[in-house]
């Protein structure tokens, strides 16, 4: 099966943040600050191999538990973790499913910090999960979501 490599396996985002690199690094790796912009109430601290856990604080997703395993911590340059993307269904155990890798890279540019986020590994995520997430995120697909729910719980 040939899915287009570049198109389906990864997301890449870049943003120029007007803040010193150390400041951005703190916002990424201090669990309280991370939680603020990411929308999760985290406990624990960022260290290689550490598991970060906590409830999502985004409206409508409060029942969802965020869980990520930290991989790389290279001060002020690179921070990465693995997690289950869109693990939003209550009562579903995602632990057997493959994870995606989220990598934050910081580069100093004139008067700002360039933050790049790459999340990769989506091609390994079960098709049914992706379809479900797709349906959840498209407006006007209510009935189809119901169909899919039945499909996934049958």
């Amino acid at each position: 099966m040939s899915l287009r490599q570049s198109g389906t396996d990864r997301i890449e985002k870049q943003i120029r943040l007007v803040a010193p690199r150390a400041r951005v690094w703190h916002a990424l790796t201090n669990t309280r600050e991370f939680g603020q912009w990411f929308g999760v109430k985290l406990t624990g601290s960022v260290a290689p191999g550490a598991t970060l856990r906590g409830p999502i604080t985004i409206k409508g997703f409060e029942h969802v538990k965020f869980e990520a395993t930290v991989e790389t911590v290279e001060p002020e340059s690179r921070f990465s973790f693995r997690w289950h993307p869109y693990a939003v269904e209550p009562g579903v155990d995602y632990s057997d499913e493959p994870t995606t890798l989220v990598v934050f890279t910081l580069v100093e540019v004139e008067g700002a910090t360039l933050l790049t986020v790459v999340e990769s590994g989506f091609d390994q995520i079960p098709a049914s999960r992706r379809a479900k997430a797709f349906a959840m995120n498209s407006n006007g697909w209510g009935a189809q979501v119901e169909n899919l729910k039945r499909y996934l719980t049958a």
Binding site: Y86, R150, A154
Partner: protein
């Protein structure tokens, strides 16, 4: 967009039946002949063929003919609709990065 909606309608319609869902699950494990697909459901070959056709129309099943035997394979592509899915997932990241930007602009008092 309209064509895509029609395609998605077909996909979800195909998924809306327990027999077809079971067929897909069996195909997820390995390819099957039409006969093998029909076998656990105690139904006629004609009835099974109808289900197979529905799955085929939705693009979820592909058929290859080898000799005189039709083999069915799962095609997860329409289910995943990966591009579209990634796009919607990307929006979540956009929102988060905007929130990060806002946080850095208006730092909370420590």
């Amino acid at each position: 967009m309209v064509e895509q909606s029609v395609q998605l309608d077909n996909v979800f319609r195909a998924l809306g039946d327990p027999t077809r869902r079971a067929m897909l699950r069996r195909l997820a494990a390995q390819e099957r002949t039409v006969g093998e697909l029909a076998e656990p459901f105690k139904m006629s070959l004609a009835a099974a063929s109808k289900h197979i056709k529905t799955l085929e129309n939705a693009g979820l099943l592909r058929r290859t003919v080898r000799g005189r035997t039709h083999y069915c394979q799962l095609n997860p592509q329409p289910l995943s609709d990966a591009d579209e899915w990634l796009r919607s997932y990307e929006r979540l990241w956009d929102r988060r990065l905007e929130a990060l930007e806002a946080l850095l602009r208006h730092p909370e008092k420590e």
